[in-house]
Symmetry: C2
Amino acid sequence: MVFVAQPNSAVLVYRFGSPIETGAFVSEPKDWQWRTGALPAEWSVSGLEGKGFSINMPLQSNDSIVGLGQHVGGVNCRGSSFRMYSTDCPVHIPSLRAMYGAHPFMIILRERPIGIFIDSPGEISLDAGASTRGMLTAKVSTAGFYLTVIEGDSAADIVSSYLTLVGEPFIPPRWAFGYHQSRWSYGNEGAVREIAQKLGEHDIPCDVIHMDIHYMRDYKVFTINTDSFPNLPKLSSDLREKGIRLISIIDPGVKIEDGYSVYEEGKQKGYFCQRADGKGAFVGAVWPGPSVFPDFFREDVRDWWGKLYVRLQSEGFAGFWNDMNEPSIFYTPDAFKEYARKVRGFDERNEFSEALSNLIWDKGLTNQESYYDEFVHDVNGERVPNREVHNLFGTLMTRATAEALAAEDESKRYFLLSRSSYPGMHRYAAIWTGDNHSWWEHLSLNIQMLISLNLSGFMFCGADTGGFGGDCTPEMLIRWTQLGAFSPFFRNHAALWARNQEPWVFDDETLALCRSGIKMRYALLPYIYSEFVKSASTRTPFIRGLFLDYKDAETRLDEDQFLCGPSLLVAPVVRPAVHGRHVYLPGSRWLKVKASEQGLDAEGVVPSGESFVSAALHEIPLYVAFGGLIPMTAPRRHTSNTCPSRYKLIGFTDSSAECAVLLDDGEARYSTWQSYPKFICSVKKVNDEWKCDVRFESTEPQQLELEIELWDSSGAKRTLAWRR
Amino acid sequence: MVFVAQPNSAVLVYRFGSPIETGAFVSEPKDWQWRTGALPAEWSVSGLEGKGFSINMPLQSNDSIVGLGQHVGGVNCRGSSFRMYSTDCPVHIPSLRAMYGAHPFMIILRERPIGIFIDSPGEISLDAGASTRGMLTAKVSTAGFYLTVIEGDSAADIVSSYLTLVGEPFIPPRWAFGYHQSRWSYGNEGAVREIAQKLGEHDIPCDVIHMDIHYMRDYKVFTINTDSFPNLPKLSSDLREKGIRLISIIDPGVKIEDGYSVYEEGKQKGYFCQRADGKGAFVGAVWPGPSVFPDFFREDVRDWWGKLYVRLQSEGFAGFWNDMNEPSIFYTPDAFKEYARKVRGFDERNEFSEALSNLIWDKGLTNQESYYDEFVHDVNGERVPNREVHNLFGTLMTRATAEALAAEDESKRYFLLSRSSYPGMHRYAAIWTGDNHSWWEHLSLNIQMLISLNLSGFMFCGADTGGFGGDCTPEMLIRWTQLGAFSPFFRNHAALWARNQEPWVFDDETLALCRSGIKMRYALLPYIYSEFVKSASTRTPFIRGLFLDYKDAETRLDEDQFLCGPSLLVAPVVRPAVHGRHVYLPGSRWLKVKASEQGLDAEGVVPSGESFVSAALHEIPLYVAFGGLIPMTAPRRHTSNTCPSRYKLIGFTDSSAECAVLLDDGEARYSTWQSYPKFICSVKKVNDEWKCDVRFESTEPQQLELEIELWDSSGAKRTLAWRR
């Protein structure tokens, strides 16, 4: 039962049992040419009693394991256990095993690293040496799966091979690289206008405001509460004049209400998920109360659902945010009745018991496992219980949206965000890390997840800046904004019960330092946007653990610093009330730079190794890698479609350096990195003299002025200029 | 309304309103001579509307705040907020504000540090610059409080002054410094004997086995389930022959059951807390179901309660463990009825609402705030609601136990552990850090709490090694045991639902490395026991943040390394699957030592500063401070009452070093450090020659052999020997 495909010489794909195709691969395995082959030495796959498989992969004592995308517990997954099972998990504690996204791709870091992708749409539980230190065990719960094994010279090679199989990451329009302001919820027109006004008043660059669930009428998806938002198109166009776009949230649960068109149409056409017992549509309660759920496994349902977004676009939304799509289920009417029965039956004179514990301690009714056995999907004409294909629900919802948005105008990129995800969805949409908390620990987790998600191909990602649940403090907002400024997706978002955490709500210092962090982000957009697009197009992580580029960092797996693009090392502060932090610089020498509203200012060359560096509240430890050349420009209030004509560049090299700066309109879709309009700036030392050369690809702007500051490893600085 | 007392020139004690005496001070403030005085500049105290006070203390931008004993969030409390309100808190997440102990003593670290002790038995909420970065605000909820302000040259001076006011920390018998094995629960004689046997079989030193709640009959305190434990005195004496003692848990809740003698006697004498509405004894449900709670605020009740322990001792218990004494209340019968009514009344067709959220999400019925308004205490003849004196409940329960045990034999020390605590209780008992989890984050938290608790005078403390809740992994048990070996209280303990985590349950490597860590602890007992007793007797923290001794460490407040006693720097590994860790060494040079079953082996002299050091699974980064002399001896299976006659000492000095080694019987009580029987070993360089001098205090053993290995800062090693 083992087959081997070789789309690339280092990649082996094995098939076990009868897998359900997940869509993760860009071409469907069923169309592949298969031939027999053996598993890596010492590995074994065995069938489990009943159904499912166990994969045993022995570990060497110094192996580390990275990847697994969205998970708690750090960059190095070794020693922990995980559950790949899409779950609405409102509190990200260290023992949380399942999150919104299920990303069963990992890399064992060793002399010759090895990539592993376990493709199955049902639950996969993974013990990465938690029970037995020397054994990595995956338990697959479905009747079949694909096991992809990638050998490569480096982790970066393996990621690149993986992304060849599963496709290149989603690239949103340039405006999505701006700052996003959100909260649950800016619930009426006045509130949204006030936010836009405050952003202007306080000189805070911003491109997007998010509208959470309260813009709908009674939580009915694809409706607008016109009492609160009497003229959304007008609001939207007024904001667009200020450079701000609106994004709206959409959940999969459709309220059961007679006369509500989405419900009526779906009901009439039989689009909703059916109960496993055959007794009609499955009902689960979410925000609107009892709801039904579209069966996204059907193409006709996806077509219908996707077109609803297109229609909603006309209300003035520039992008969408698919939430609650694990799917989250608060309770089912049946479960609620059963619960009420138990409460009535409990004798309050009892001593402690399991039953009592369940009543008074457990998390209650939300997302009980049994709900996912109670409904089925139509998978290629077969009735399949949700549990068997659970991890695809959110991905297929998002695919529905993505395909409809792409079909609207194939020449343009769209913006789409999803909470649940599975490999393959990284081609369609961005994700965020879900409902984090205003905890310092979650700043660290933010860094760790950025690294892990980028390894897994979910490159346009970010955490809620300031933390979603709980109360953010002024200092935390400053530090988190400093980190968020280097995240691909940079959104300040907070929960209904949390205190306000917009940059201006605390004090002048907080406002000034948050503004400064956001302006720096805008000043660095030539670097961040260009390098992100290049990374995604060339299958290279944009947020990079140091081990990807520096062999000496591999045994360390630093969990609190990262590379943003190829050339900028960021060491954010993740503890309160500190005046400095420990930084490890791999390789040889680095150029220390200082963040400012204008981008970066070089401070001098520092050696590699361990150091404790100053990090007062306004400071973010930042370093340019040897060989790096970082383009920046004066910050603007919004990412505009007009490219600036003046750039400053900071470089660090003894011989040559090069960078590319995109000159596209920020929205047009290109199929390759090569085809993006851009200029490439090269500096080179020729006979002791420094030269700057600028090459244009696809476009030639009328005017371009470059001011280049070059540092060499001796610490000498020179400046060059280039203009046309 | 401001009064000043000056028990010591640097200490000012202010009285506001009408405080209830908490017993924190060794002499009662009501007996003090008061005179008027002004608060420190810029501080203000104002009355709150209704009742209570607000204390505003401006912070300077570089101030750090340390202390506050048991709390989550790290050594530096600045930027966070806290609630001093004894609470059973089963999950120690970062936003947890109230824990079991309420320890309102802190130190502002600045050029001239300042200590603050807010003495009030009700809730105190503290905003340590979380809302406004420049302001420390304490809100006191009671009608009066004492505010103690201590100025000193250093944090260590301030701790010493504080402990002059509140008394010297509890010193248990030497056997309590051994290894403790526990779980919830070794529930019958066979299970306990098996643990003792396995400890022997696997050559794991151990002094204590803890017996959790299942040894009782139906959770009735001071009863024995004789079906499971038919002959406890025999079990106890059999174990004692193997060097193992038994400790039993006791809760404050007394089961309501006719014929149960503790209940009947307490009821007859009116010893139980009364309902605030006057309708008889207050009933709250805990493990035994509906229970009543002794009113520990009454001396007669404390006398009665204390004698119950003395009686229980005869069953063979060597010490006691007061648990659940915040007090924890799972529910009240009234609250349960109200809850059932709400569940019945809920319409499951509703959309999301506050009511729904409370039903399906909230933690349910446990420890609802309102319970603590429903019962009163008899405080000096007045009926005072629990909320007003809430933080003293557990302390007074423990005082009852302590006074009875001390009265039994005043010449001997006893062992007593309590979950809830308040300043003053540090004189009577040990505490542990409560129900932590098998999370790597809780290894870090363990270090942070050891440092904070030691600053606050709760010196004999420790966390559950391996973590209480959740499943420990083999690697985590190894790393945690390596840390636990340096904790004053060193207990492996796990929850009912957690998997087993005794050292032998995983694999040979785990067993070997845990054994090695525990043996090292026993080998180092001459150092750990002697220095602990000296620290407690001389009012100096035993577990020390580096900032206490090294000015250059003050701005850093390292959160993951500490000094164990004056001379040993410990940098435990707190992350999974790492091969090394970052270490910061303050001061000048350090002697790197390696842990072994025989104690420590010196490896060489290393410079101060930042480094990344090897930390394979068997390694614990350890360093001897310049000037240190560490005594150790061959490890034994139990701390015995016979002192060893052969010691090895490792010293690091260019001129002289000294250490004291206790020679007491391990149980006798002494009133001062001076009066403990001991020998003092001094090494000194005289005219380029090293001399060793041994001085005896109070006792002179027949035989003593010392083998001393001395290192100087140049890295040269020499050995000295001394014998009689």
